[in-house]
Symmetry: C2
Subunit: 401 residues, 2 copies
């Protein structure tokens, strides 16, 4: 089960890249040396890039993240065929959609959890604990189940279909008030020895290894399309944004690509800690969050990873409002792709920017439409099946009959 093709050699502070730590144990509360009372700095995984086989990007697509094992932390936990999602070109907008709803639990989070649960397995933890209202929790539960580890999900109240989803993988799901999740997470870690795969620091640091899994989005796009001119990424804590940036940055380092795409972070306008941090020149900050239907990326607290990705890629942090996301979600559905409203933030951001790019543009849709708040609340009327009634409905919909 253990995948020992990893070239990972240690952890390195994002706060000060000169500061290094051993690879084990994963630093689940960020870099102790550079973090301050107001800003927590994450760590990232460092690799011996000279050990990465040069033919890695010419190999046939395999199943799961194992294909990219040399550029990931050790994959101690078994996979579920995560990753390998398709790129679909939209005719009208001229953009490519990277559709992450094709993952094992139908969101991008599966890439992170394959790696984070592998970290838990690697240190011999009896289980994992996660604070989540949706995709992350269900994904963590699925990979824990696959690895034979217990899983505790501290859930905040979630949409009805998501409640069922969270419970389907056999995790212990405890629904608690939103703000109680993080103190309970720390307590559970202390009392049980379970490995945390959610954040517990002041500004977001999250899991030390997890975001490495998102690099595979970049690898797959590169193998299929080369380097896009720009990418638009739905952004909550910014882990996906960072992973995508780091993946392309590694391709540059390996001499395979000349540059990274410009990365556009797309946050809900109801919050936007990254936009605030960028405009104020801060590494990371927090904001008040107003109501938004994009609960999957509605975060009061940002993280330094996202700031790095935007700065290093000459990108921007965009704010998209609920109407812009709803319009993008609707139009994706009209193209045959039904995504969660927060997933449509990428396309909404692209439309807002309306810039001409010198090359392909990729918008990431992170998750399936089944996870939205309004799903399952419609109760359609049953029609009288008389032809006159049906014909009237068809004519009202501009169907000639």
């Amino acid at each position: 089960m253990v995948n020992d093709r990893s070239s990972a050699i240690g952890q390195r502070s994002l706060g000060d890249p000169g500061i290094r730590y051993p690879l084990w144990p994963p630093l689940t509360t960020g870099c102790p040396e550079t973090s301050t009372e107001t800003t927590s700095y994450p760590v990232e995984v460092d690799y011996d890039y000279d050990r990465v086989p040069p033919e890695l990007f010419q190999q046939p697509a395999g199943s799961g993240l194992d294909r990219w094992a040399p550029l990931l932390p050790p994959l101690h936990a078994p996979g579920l065929g995560e990753g390998g999602t398709p790129l679909i070109e939209l005719p009208g907008d001229g953009v490519h959609i990277k559709d992450e709803s094709r993952n094992p639990t139908w969101s991008h989070k599966d890439r992170l959890n394959r790696v984070a649960v592998s970290a838990a397995a690697g240190i011999g933890a009896p289980g994992i604990v996660v604070a989540s209202s949706g995709n992350h929790g269900a994904s963590a539960a699925a990979f824990a189940a696959r690895a034979g580890l217990r899983c505790i999900v501290l859930a905040s109240p979630a949409p009805p279909a998501v409640n069922t989803f969270l419970r389907s993988y056999g995790a212990v799901v405890l629904t608690v008030p939103t703000e109680a999740r993080w103190p309970l997470l720390r307590r559970i870690v202390a009392e049980t020895g379970f490995h945390p795969v959610s954040n517990s620091t002041t500004t977001h640091t999250g899991h030390a290894f997890g975001p490495e899994g998102y690099k595979t989005v970049a690898y797959e796009i590169f193998a299929e399309l080369g380097v896009p001119a720009a990418m638009f990424v739905p952004t909550g804590y910014g882990e996906l944004l960072f992973g995508v940036w780091k993946g392309f940055a590694e391709l540059v380092r390996l001499g395979l690509a000349a540059r990274t795409p410009r990365l556009f972070a797309c946050e809900p306008a109801a919050g936007g800690p990254l936009s605030r941090a960028i405009s104020q020149g801060l590494p990371a900050t927090s904001v008040e969050v107003g109501p938004t239907s994009a609960y999957g990326i509605s975060c009061a607290v940002g993280g330094y990873r996202a700031t790095v990705a935007v700065h290093e890629s000459a990108g921007r942090a965009l704010l998209v409002d609920d109407a812009e996301m709803a319009a993008a979600q609707r139009d994706l559905g009209r193209s045959g792709l039904w995504c969660e409203v927060s997933s449509a933030a990428g396309l909404a951001g692209f439309r807002q920017v309306r810039e001409e790019f010198d090359g392909p543009v990729v918008c990431v849709t992170t998750s399936s439409g089944f996870k939205d708040i309004g799903v399952g609340t419609e109760r359609p009327d049953v029609l009288d099946p008389e032809w006159d009634v049906v014909r009237r409905h068809l004519r009202n919909a501009d169907i000639h009959c």
Copy 2:
């Protein structure tokens, strides 16, 4: 957009393989010559197998069914990255799961609809019409949207989350009493010229081209694993069963495989028209259907395709009850795979047979758990986040703390 790599040369009656028809138009009500008042015989697509490039099965996995274009009817409608789903080995049962929930609308139906909507585009129909309470309707709507065709879905009352799903692709969704759907389908075809992608004959014939899309399940399994000893397939009308059989039969014909797997059809015990037909020596028949949670494969009417697949593969028709399917669904969840209860019929069938097979066994899970009847009806209590309360819950779940 048109994919002209197809080797299709015509339609052929399943009732009498000596009877052939031109490839166009698709015979949407089966074979007119062999069908009787009680039994409708489908047609299938015939190919010039000598034109199939010998290297087809050595080529790298591409995106969507286009990879297999020489063995499919012409793909006039654009794809959504359908197919290419992973095979996942379960540790306990020693079986492989072909997880069809990774498709564009999270079910196997996307393979059929890429092909059926291509047929509609190929004859220049202004739209398609489909009778469905779930996966088939949403999938048809998605591929129609992608192709710029209108879509009418005649829906029977569906689970809450599925109602939202059906409406997400911009189709005209008319919810009507279940039994009114087929007469309305025929009327709409007559009055609008829309192309039907659902059945409208006495026993099931369905779309002439659509089941060809399911052959790609066999091709993918063969490319990854070779020929399994047995496959267990959730079975409603038997189109998937037939497609899988035909795919392997073609591999034998092409000289690439020595045999097909034995195919085990897994029908809900509440109905089971195929089991009845097989036991009575009929080509196809109908049954009374009792209540079952496996609504996705609960069919009163069977079709001759399924009978062919079982007989030709030396397979069997199994009946699995709701408790067996629920247990299999639960255990798949505990392995990290959450499927619709009807999707678990395959694993339920395998466990019922408990036979030793001389080679790998594959169970197909057809769809995501989001589509089940009970989804979204749970309302979890919000816990008091005091540690004593949380600890009691964890201890009740056998977590040491």
